[in-house]
Symmetry: C2
Subunit: 404 residues, 2 copies
Amino acid sequence: MAKVNKNYLKLPGSYLFSAIGKKVREFSEANPEASIIRLGIGDVTQPIVPTVIEALHNAVDEMGRAESFRGYAPDLGYEFLRDVISREDYKARGCEISADEIFISDGAKCDCGNIQEIFGISNRVAVCDPVYPVYVDSNVMAGRTGAYNAQTGRFDNVIYMPCTAENGFVPDLPEEVPDLIYLCFPNNPTGAVITRPKLQKWVDYANRNNSIILYDAAYEAYIAEPDMPHSIYECDGARECAIEFRSFSKTAGFTGLRLGYTVIPLELETDGVKLWPLWARRHGTKYNGAPYIIQRAGEAVYSEKGRQQVREQISYYMGNAKYILDGLKSAGYEVSGGVNAPYIWLRTPGSMTSWEFFDELLMRANVVGTPGSGFGPSGEHYFRLTAFGSRESTIEAVDRIKRM
Amino acid sequence: MAKVNKNYLKLPGSYLFSAIGKKVREFSEANPEASIIRLGIGDVTQPIVPTVIEALHNAVDEMGRAESFRGYAPDLGYEFLRDVISREDYKARGCEISADEIFISDGAKCDCGNIQEIFGISNRVAVCDPVYPVYVDSNVMAGRTGAYNAQTGRFDNVIYMPCTAENGFVPDLPEEVPDLIYLCFPNNPTGAVITRPKLQKWVDYANRNNSIILYDAAYEAYIAEPDMPHSIYECDGARECAIEFRSFSKTAGFTGLRLGYTVIPLELETDGVKLWPLWARRHGTKYNGAPYIIQRAGEAVYSEKGRQQVREQISYYMGNAKYILDGLKSAGYEVSGGVNAPYIWLRTPGSMTSWEFFDELLMRANVVGTPGSGFGPSGEHYFRLTAFGSRESTIEAVDRIKRM
């Protein structure tokens, strides 16, 4: 008899965003006149910028002509895209990452979820708490964790690193040494950023302990302060211990186009085995490349015009972030994030739980956010708002919250 | 210390198509004047049809306007695409597959590679020999097989089902009962097709033994003979034992656009667990949907014009197949396939091995094909040619082989 992967059954029933969707649907049906503003799920709302649209049209035309048609893409992605990434995202910042070390994919979520496959089942995994659920869930599904403990909201055999107001939402080095360490800065969900000296400490810690850091830099483009690291490879020794994930989703509004990439330095090895060939093998066997036209769209993001248009879009969202941050502060809320990240992290008033505040906000202000506890137990009493709405709805949402 | 997934190290060094690429490159450098014709890798060469190009342009324009911009796609794929697939690929053929049972993805290769993740590690896997390497390799990487035996060309703990001239390249029911059975018809690499009564026997066998059939129907659109099953769900009881994979790659030339889908009937269960929610969970956690514009392109394939244009393209390729088949037969080769599939499977002359014939063909005719032994030991003394070239190069290739 065929047996299922029983690890899947360890996952608690309802996924955070499904639970939110259900609550909103029910409220909406009971209150059809309510105009609901959604600042919950981290999806962008601004259209793809003109230069990228033009590149898409051109690439579509190429696919329609025999002489320029493209079939299967090269395993690692097209060189035109890997070259410009190496040059603009890395060498321009002083990081020696070559085009050969870049693997193009259909998004950072997929890469973050799939990367654990090249590691053994016995590795101890460390994650921030609160955390983007994909890091944990993909390891649960692979069998790298114990059971879910409903009491603590945690899986056994995972090292959770609390991110709290006390440590500025940047985790302390764990006492129990993990083998694989997931870090995400600028952070989802807290919006916190890490300084270069602090990130250097993590790199040194990983190299000292032969751990591998899985660094999710999906929100890198939102960094506004000058000294913050955009890549972990800005730290000495990161090539010996770190894999980095990047995304076009939030940088250029590609959530519906799907493009991202993973960097694995050629010399990165653990357990006597180089990691680059393992990931290349996974790519070659279980994946078939991002569409040609989407890779051309990604290339256009780096053109002079593309870069300028995308920067304007990010400024637009960060204008929203500032409006939310200032508005909530003036209303007496304890808020953080929102300066180098499109997420605002607020403390719920009094002793209210995250879900109680969710209900209150939905019912009294008709605004949807995300309960911090959905990202892990240390997110309890916190709440995430995103800057990805339109300016008008963001202003309206803040005004409604202030009036609450 | 971080440990790697040691199962990856069981995979033999060089992937079939890399080995071919290397040989061709070396020959080409030594013989720069040779005009090489590639009928090896199964990639299409005809451009995307006009109706699909138009749909792509329209969808790109939608992404450039705020009012029609689309971010994250629904987890299972857009309803407009799942609806038309359910109606045209299934209900029109008498198969009761609903839109809810269809999961849109970026290709059948990914789905065939990923599907094993929802099954336990202890399952015994059966594959045809010769076989599309992804089925085996993805199970090796997951740890579901033993070591590779270089002598036999097989992995331990896998049930290989020989497909030979004697059984018409359709495997016999295995004596040792597998838990998971990979079948692919029309077949890659042999080009063989299975009749409905024979496929019904497989479905009955699976239901009798509580096995799950993983049915790869990526080449379904190439079926020309009237009575051959296009879907495993044309068989009674298949909803209780089968998962089906489909692809737009060969149907509509989407190898560079990336679109496919997987069907899991809602009631399909094994080991007391329904499979639909497991695959939905995997989709939700480790994948983020095919791009909106590509899903619109897929929809256009089902329009009246799209269908007609795609049919013409398939006829073009099958014209190539017939030319190869007839040409090689008249030259005295023993050939099969090529009637309901874009692959021609030929017996190498005399006692020549597959790789010896590869070298001979490359050197004497400057034609590239794929050695049958690369697909498994029962492929030894066979050779695969594809119908995906242009008509001119196909004619030229056959003429050169005849002159050899």
